[in-house]
Assembly symmetry: C2
Homo-oligomer: 161 residues x 2
């Protein structure tokens, strides 16, 4: 599929770069990041339950959500929105509770490709290469791929309904 | 002076690492970062006027301040506090208005050296090496050195008074 997640982990820089195209307009994909009622239906791999503790999606707001796996183990994620620019870009911090104080900063851009399509471009910056590698080895790529597939399914279902 | 600012810019990583010792306890140096009435008396190089627009120094809070040079040119800085741990550490974002969306994340640690001394350790992480170099070439080192000298003078004056 041409819309597959493209992931790049440069070996000598503490970054995770990615791109994902969608056959949906920017407005739809942005809304699925903005509205926690939608977000909890797609973020992360299949088979986890997601609970949004709070999600104040605006410049200066903060968020915290918990993924729980089938064995009942919780994984908490939290951060702060440095910039939210409607239908354009988000800059936010990101911390996994299992690695306290290992905080990354995430730059997300929503690009209009025309003809009702869009591209999500992400640039994640970690405080060390080791921290980036730890995140990459946690099953992140599979989780992101599945998450974006679920996002696509969610938007397709909304379009039909 | 043994308390001089030590600055390290690794050539292949987008970091600015620094250390600065103070002949003052952690509590004093932390308070000078926490209280905007103190902060505005030392942050940045001599000869600039600093106005704090807001400074909500707590986990989830945000800040914005403006330095104005003698010619009247304003320089705006803003960001968000991801974590504030009293007398221990601060994790915050940092953006210079002149380079919008070039946001760094700053890890500050306050270490007790005993005998009423402390060490401030900083790790700043930029979204690219070019962004880090741009910040480093903006007169940052001189500004930081002078700022910490002013902080020392401020705390010495408070101790005397």
């Amino acid at each position: 599929m041409s819309n597959d997640l493209k992931l790049d982990l440069p070996s000598h820089l503490p970054f995770i770069d990615y791109e994902r195209d969608f056959d949906f307009p920017v407005g739809d994909v942005f809304r699925a990041h903005k509205d926690p009622a939608l977000l909890k239906q797609w973020l992360g791999p299949r088979g986890l339950h997601m609970e949004v503790e709070h999600y104040d999606f605006r410049t200066g707001g903060s968020y915290r959500y918990i993924h729980t796996d089938p064995a009942g183990t919780p994984y908490t994620f939290s951060g702060i929105f440095h910039t939210v620019r409607e239908n354009e870009s988000v800059i936010q911090t990101f911390e996994f509770g299992g690695y306290p104080d290992v905080v990354s900063i995430e730059f997300l851009t929503f690009q209009d490709l025309g003809e009702g399509r869009c591209r999500l471009v992400g640039h994640s910056v970690y405080p060390s290469i080791e921290a980036r590698d730890g995140m990459a080895q946690s099953g992140m790529e599979g989780g992101m791929s599945e998450g974006y597939e679920r996002l696509e399914e969610l938007l397709a279902a909304q379009r039909v309904s």
